[in-house]
């Protein structure tokens, strides 16, 4: 599903690399925790995986495609098969919750009727069936995070990436979000979850990727 070979990522030509010589392989249908101190490169790692940045050096394969050599026009089609829960949610402020969740389906060109039904169902799934018409700013941080999760999974992505999806949630809600991610995993998605939340990872044993200062120090 995903393979990194000696990947280095620099945001600027001579800056310290955010990722440095990372080798790793994520099998299709796997579930992995991504951990490490703040600034270790977790978000950068996920950005590479959802094709928001290209590696500065090394070889990156995502869903069988060589990203380091792919032409620009090949990337949008791949991105549509990847769902992302961003660390800062990145909901569109001027669209209501339902439209935010419907967005990936619109980009994929789904029919209007099916798309709204799917988005509504997904919002019920994350417990926000009552807030379809709310604007993101009218929601709490935790509610926004669940909207972001609904948006990430609505198009049934083959690869699901979540960047700190429980940072704004209490214990009960964190458990519920992880349960939702595991449900997507059972439905066939390859899942990577970056988190600081040690107990959550311990409660739900899975493959562990640990980054420190841009290097992958644990993989298994």
């Amino acid at each position: 599903m995903v393979r990194l070979d000696n990947i280095t990522l620099r945001y600027r030509p001579n800056a310290t690399p955010a990722l440095n010589g990372v080798d790793c392989h994520l099998a299709a249908g796997s579930f992995s925790w991504l951990m490490g101190p703040s600034g270790a490169g977790k978000s950068s790692f996920l950005k590479l995986l959802h094709l928001a940045v290209r590696p500065s050096a090394g070889q990156l394969h995502v869903m069988g495609r060589a990203i380091h050599t792919a032409r620009r026009q090949e990337l949008p089609g791949l991105r549509r098969r990847i769902g992302v829960v961003f660390q800062d949610f990145r909901l569109l402020p001027h669209l209501d919750v339902l439209e935010n969740v419907a967005l990936p389906l619109r980009i994929a060109g789904r029919g209007e009727r099916q798309l709204l039904a799917d988005a509504t169902e997904m919002l019920r799934w994350v417990g926000l069936g009552e807030r379809l018409k709310a604007r993101p700013e009218e929601l709490s941080g935790g509610e926004q995070q669940r909207v972001a999760l609904a948006r990430a999974v609505v198009a049934r992505p083959a690869l699901l990436l979540a960047d700190e999806p429980t940072s704004n949630l209490d214990e009960a809600q964190s458990r519920r979000v992880v349960a939702l991610l595991q449900q997507m995993h059972r439905l066939g998605s390859t899942v990577v979850v970056a988190t600081h939340n040690q107990w959550l990872a311990e409660e739900n044993p899975a493959a562990m990727l640990r980054l420190e200062a841009g290097r992958l120090v644990e993989h298994g």
């Binding site: 959802h50 094709l51 928001a52 940045v53 290209r54 620009r72 026009q73 990337l75 949008p76 089609g77 791949l78 991105r79 549509r80 098969r81 990847i82 992302v84 990145r90 569109l92 001027h94 669209l95 339902l98 439209e99 419907a102 967005l103 990936p104 619109r106 980009i107 994929a108 209007e112 709204l116 509504t120 069936g129 009552e130 379809l132 018409k133």
Partner: protein
Amino acid sequence: MAERTPRTRGRDPLGLKRAMADRLLPGLVAAMALLAALALAGANAAATMASRWEGGAAAAMMVQLPRSIAVAPAASRLAALPGVAEAIPLDHDRLAALLRPWLGDASGLPLPGMIELRLTSLGPASLALPAAIEATIPGAQVEAHGVWVARLSALARSLQALAWLVLALVAGVAAAMVAVATRAGIAARRATILILHDMGATDGTIARRFAGRIAWLAGLGAVLGAAAAAPLLWLLGGLAAPLLGDTLTMPWAALAALPPAAAAIAWATAHAAVRLWLRSLP
């Protein structure tokens, strides 16, 4: 929960509408369209004037001979003057026809001998000609109205060229303005575009949405500008008609073409600007 059928967001599911300077752009384009309409009308009127006056310019000068001088020999002497292409004696009937508006039926009157001169050029040499004619045929009266008309005609042609230049400038400024408005729109919706891009929207989809929106706004502005110009042109046309005869036709077709032209300029500019920016993303 109150069951409400989720309504779709019409033609703007990506919410790009609110990204634009929704009132500024149509206002600016309306002003540009008004200027373009005036330039068009100016070019049109100048062309009409020029062609009308060119007809009159052929008879560049009229020489009225004293009664003592015979017409035919005077004509050949005038034809020999520098700057004169041709000297044509006017026969009695033609002269009577020319004078009819002023004198009524004057066929019985004794009319002076008249010679029509056609000039080789309307340049400075023609200015010296009246004096040369006086010297050749003492007592001859020179009427240089034709020269004046010819100069007006040349002026009208220059005005016409100027009007086209203004039109080209207006189109250029309008395109630049749309580009600036688009850039502002992109800046205001940078985050939105980045999200759409990260979710797998193609450059073409994003650019088309922006361009469609901008084109609509510009087209709307041009309709307003053209609508404001129409009564103005009609009024000016009414004022100019007596001067130009009934040959003056207003450029209504060109006026009607302004909104689609503005929309097309806007679409192309916006599309190019958005694509250019998107190309800097991975």
